[in-house]
């Protein structure tokens, strides 16, 4: 056999293995263990592979026996089992022509196969990739820095906001945001990335969605807009055969691909037993950097990130924290939330930093809180709010109040009630100031009446 036919045989083995692996957990890992690595497994003969994996067919991998499952679950398990057996029995076929139905089939040996993924222990033998100009984007992905942002499917308003901020800022810095197109944190981060990098010239996709099912299935359906955006401007990647339905065991498998494609994983919110914690553990195994966004103490959604922080994960308050550890430069400007990468000291100092960024200049805005009045686009815009001298009653100066409230907003978001307490102002003064800030586009109100400084 010549070199060419050897390559072809390896590609066929990879596709065969991908098909088998689509219907039973741990197949790739088993093959890689048995032959030392996936690379070696692809060189193995078909009978040897079959023999290694056939045992898998018998053990049913410790899952609940079919009898205990009911209804649809039992039916799906039975179908999966029969697909696994028939895939195992199938002959090697040369891989399908590419591109196929608008998607791309990339096997382990292909040049386009993401190099970071290839270096993991049990990488997918083949990947299905969808998206406009998929080949080009996949090629660019190899060069671009990539960071996974994952978390709970039911985030709090804070988690949503952090996912949006981090996803958007990473994309602005030229980083590919990898995630699982799940509800909640995943889709928030990915949509923010797609939005932030809408007019980016580079070939690298702003975001890559890794699926736990076939490319032809959009799960969950309510993320249809995100799927559309990812097909148009990003990439959708899966190791699963077309038509494979989503099921519980495929999500951890997908998470290993998310971790494998990225240089770092950022966990935003999650409970103790959440999938994002699994992703973080897989990331550690694949020697990726792990970041956790701190939450409020004692909250269920803070459990996963705080557990990771205790284990030594990096603290992530903003995209800059990730960029600093990965040795990347901030290539974007104008972010309000920029605590600074080196020793951002007490709150006041950080605030000055912020206002300087707001003014678009790099120069320091002087010392202490009063400087806010003199610097920043915020203060200029507020000039328009200033009550004229002629106003009857000469009430409290709205602009000054608005500045005080803006300072409190930069410290932390809060309801009008919180802000009144922190700024030491009356409730009605704060609500008026917040509206003025909102009109000038300097503050935003989220559900629950929580205001935050606009970016």
């Amino acid at each position: 056999m010549g070199r060419g036919s050897d390559r072809q045989r390896r590609a066929a083995t990879a596709v065969w293995l991908a098909r088998v692996a689509s219907n039973r957990p741990g197949v790739v890992q088993r093959a890689a263990k048995r032959f030392g690595s996936l690379d070696a497994a692809l060189d193995a003969s078909l009978p040897a592979l079959r023999a290694c994996l056939a045992a898998k067919a018998a053990t049913a991998s410790g899952r609940a026996p079919a009898a205990e499952r009911r209804g649809r679950a039992a039916l799906e398990a039975a179908q999966e089992s029969s697909r696994f057996v028939s895939a195992l029995a199938a002959a090697l076929e040369p891989p399908a022509e590419r591109p196929h139905d608008g998607w791309l089939l990339v096997t382990y040996d292909d040049e386009l196969y993401p190099p970071r993924l290839r270096t993991t222990f049990d990488p997918p033998p083949a990947l299905f990739v969808a998206g406009q100009g998929a080949a080009q984007r996949l090629g660019a992905l190899a060069e671009a820095p990539a960071v996974a942002v994952v978390g709970t499917r039911a985030p709090s308003a804070y988690g949503r906001e952090m996912a949006r901020l981090i996803g958007g800022d990473l994309a602005r810095a030229g980083v590919v945001v990898v995630s699982g197109v799940a509800l909640g944190i995943d889709v928030c981060a990915q949509l923010a990335a797609l939005e932030a990098a809408a007019d980016r010239a580079s070939d690298a996709p702003p975001s890559v969605g890794v699926l736990g099912c076939g490319l032809d299935i959009e799960h969950p359906r309510s993320n249809a807009a995100a799927f559309r955006a990812l097909r148009e401007h990003g990439l959708l990647v899966t190791e699963f055969w077309p038509g494979t339905p989503p099921s519980v065991w495929r999500f951890p498998a997908r998470n290993r691909v998310i971790a494998g494609l990225s240089q770092a994983v950022v966990v935003v919110e999650g409970s103790r037993r959440s999938g994002s914690r699994i992703t973080a553990e897989l990331a550690v195994e694949a020697s990726r950097e792990v970041f956790a966004v701190p939450g409020e103490a004692g909250r269920r959604l803070s459990e996963a990130p705080h557990h990771l922080l205790r284990q030594g994960a990096h603290l992530c308050e903003a995209a800059d924290d990730v960029l600093a550890v990965l040795g990347l430069e901030r290539t974007y400007g104008g972010s309000v939330r920029a605590p600074g990468t080196e020793g951002a000291g007490p709150a006041v100092e950080a605030r000055d930093h912020t206002d300087a960024a707001g003014a678009g200049g790099g120069s320091s805005a002087g010392e202490g809180a009063p400087s806010v009045g003199g610097a920043g686009a915020g203060a200029q815009a507020l000039g328009g709010v200033e009550a004229p001298e002629s106003a009857g009653g000469a009430g409290p100066d709205l602009a000054a109040d608005a500045r005080a409230v803006l300072r409190a907003l930069h410290d932390a978001p809060g309801t009008a009630e919180d802000l009144a307490g922190r700024a030491g102002l009356e409730a009605r003064v704060v609500t008026a100031a917040l509206s003025a800030l909102e009109v000038e586009g300097l503050a935003e109100c989220a559900p629950g009446g929580v205001y935050r400084a606009a970016r």
Binding site: Y158, S222, A427, T431, V450
Partner: protein, 507 residues
């Protein structure tokens, strides 16, 4: 022999004269009531017969015909027992009428001859006064309520025998008119007070504005954030009821049969909180002879609709007329009834079906489509009639303990009343409060200074407000200015009003 006594039936709040005639002739014994009586009136034959016998009168074996005239008007309720019995006793010569002027009677009879209270006495006696009836016999339990009407001699009767006596003497003592001022003064203090609310300064401020300007408001907040508790305290900071207002409220409550016995007057602004499963007739009034619904029972008070989007759409839509006109008209085949319904609407809703969207501590589990469904239940026209929206957050228990008692209802009410006085001076009597201004009136009467106008214009562009929303902001700003005692509307007033705007971008 024929005898006649006058009485009154109510259709809505409108009284109609009813002449009760009794004729006793020597013929085969029978007792029949004619003149379109309803079931309760038909049954009064049995009550009247027993009451007469048990009061020691005679029930002769003759043919007795009672006619309720006019014959084409439907007569309802047990209030005709007493006039029927009196007409019968007059016809059989067992009672005698003495003294000048016409005498009316109303009351239900017990089998033992006791006179029991009936509903709607206030409206009935008012109608009698308009007809020029000089004296009226009413059940003792209703006497104080009836005596609110000046110019009619109200004679309380405990038993059928007392009524016969009063009819005969012509000089029975009339009940004294209750001291309305004292009643209102004593009765205005409730057990709920603004001082009970811990923290929540923003919400309290919004409630004060709502009370001062008569604005309807929408509260959005998770379960347990105290929406009901806050709404319940809104009536306590609204201006105290005037005598006329108290009588107007009493009239409706009396017709609905909700006035407790021996209580002459509703002294506090009503607070009605119907459950969201309420039917359209239950909410706006209805029935074959239309009874007042919750909107009318909340007249001059607060109608609180918790779980606002859960109300049936037809019920919410039916609220539009009363919110616009301050009254509700219920049409029937032959006639229509109008009840007053000048209410302050307080609507409360969760931010989402599960209630925890935007909450600091709990997570929202609502799928997007459910959220959309939930919000789409609130129609634009209905929201157009709501001026204030406020977000109510849950206050952690520790903050409850830390927060001292707030300002009392009386202190807030003093400011509200002052603001109302300013409004009356500016608006005249026709428009009660800022909230009731029409769009042209807003443009004519709300004087915004230059900075305030420019802020509102910018808000129109930047916050994508509609023209109607701008008008509502102007109205609320006017109320804020009134609370402050300012001559015109300044930029601070508009800015604060903007923070309560109903339309908000929803993340």
């Amino acid at each position: 022999m024929l005898a006649r006594i006058t009485s009154e039936t109510l259709f809505g709040l409108q009284g109609h004269a009813v002449e009760v005639e009794a004729d006793v002739v020597a013929a085969a014994p029978a007792f029949s009531i004619v003149g379109l009586p309803d079931a309760a009136v038909q049954e009064s034959r049995e009550r009247v017969r027993a009451a007469i016998v048990n009061s020691g009168f005679e029930f002769p074996s003759r043919r007795i015909t009672v006619n309720l005239a006019p014959a084409d008007l439907r007569k309802e309720g047990p209030g005709f027992d007493l006039p029927i019995a009196l007409a019968f006793l007059l016809a059989t010569g067992q009672a005698r009428r003495n003294g000048g002027g016409e005498v009316a009677a109303l009351g239900e009879l017990g089998l033992d001859g006791a006179v029991r209270p009936v509903s709607g006495v206030l409206a009935v006696v008012e109608s009698l006064r308009r007809r020029g009836v000089g004296r009226v016999l009413v059940p003792t339990a209703n006497a104080a309520e009836a005596a609110l009407v000046q110019g009619v001699g109200v004679i309380p009767v405990e038993r059928l025998r007392d009524a016969v006596g009063a009819l005969g003497s012509g000089a029975a003592a009339a009940a004294a008119r209750p001291d309305v001022g004292a009643l209102l003064h004593d009765g205005s203090a409730g057990d709920a007070d603004f001082a009970d609310v811990a923290g929540q300064a923003v919400v309290k401020r919004a409630l004060e504005i709502a009370a001062a300007g008569g604005h309807n408001l929408l509260m959005v907040g998770p379960p347990g954030s105290g929406k009901t508790m806050l709404a319940r305290r809104l009536p306590t900071i609204m201006p105290a009821l005037t005598v006329d207002e108290a009588i107007a409220v009493t009239r409706v409550h009396s017709v609905a049969g909700l006035l407790p016995a021996r209580v002459p007057l509703v002294t506090r602004r009503p607070f009605r909180a119907p459950h969201h499963s309420i039917s359209v007739p239950g909410l706006v009034g209805g029935g074959s002879s239309p009874r007042p619904g919750e909107v009318s029972l909340a007249h001059l008070g607060v109608l609180f609709l918790d779980e606002f989007p859960e109300f049936r759409v037809s019920a919410l839509e039916a609220l539009r007329q009363p919110l616009e006109d301050g009254e509700v008209t219920i049409s029937r085949a032959l006639t229509s009834v109008t009840y007053p319904a000048r209410i302050t609407l307080v609507a409360a809703m969760n931010p989402c079906p599960c209630g925890f969207r935007g909450d600091r501590e709990r997570q929202c589990t609502c799928p997007g489509y459910r959220l959309q469904q939930y919000r789409s239940r609130l129609s634009g026209p209905l929201l157009d009639r709501i001026d204030l929206r406020l977000e109510v957050a849950r206050v952690p228990p520790r903050e409850h303990r830390l927060a001292g008692r707030g300002e009392s209802s009386a202190a807030v009410r003093a400011r509200v009343e002052e603001a109302r006085r300013r409004q009356r001076a500016r608006l005249g009597g026709a428009i009660g409060a800022n909230a009731h201004m029409t769009a042209p009136q807003v443009r004519r009467l709300c004087k915004l200074d230059a900075a305030a106008t420019s802020l509102l214009d910018r808000a129109y562009d930047r916050l994508r407000l509609s023209a109607r929303a701008c008008d509502r902001v102007a109205k609320v700003a006017q109320t804020i200015a009134d609370l402050e005692g300012a001559a015109g509307i300044t930029v601070s007033h508009v800015a604060e009003a903007l923070s309560y705007r109903v339309e908000r971008g929803q993340g």
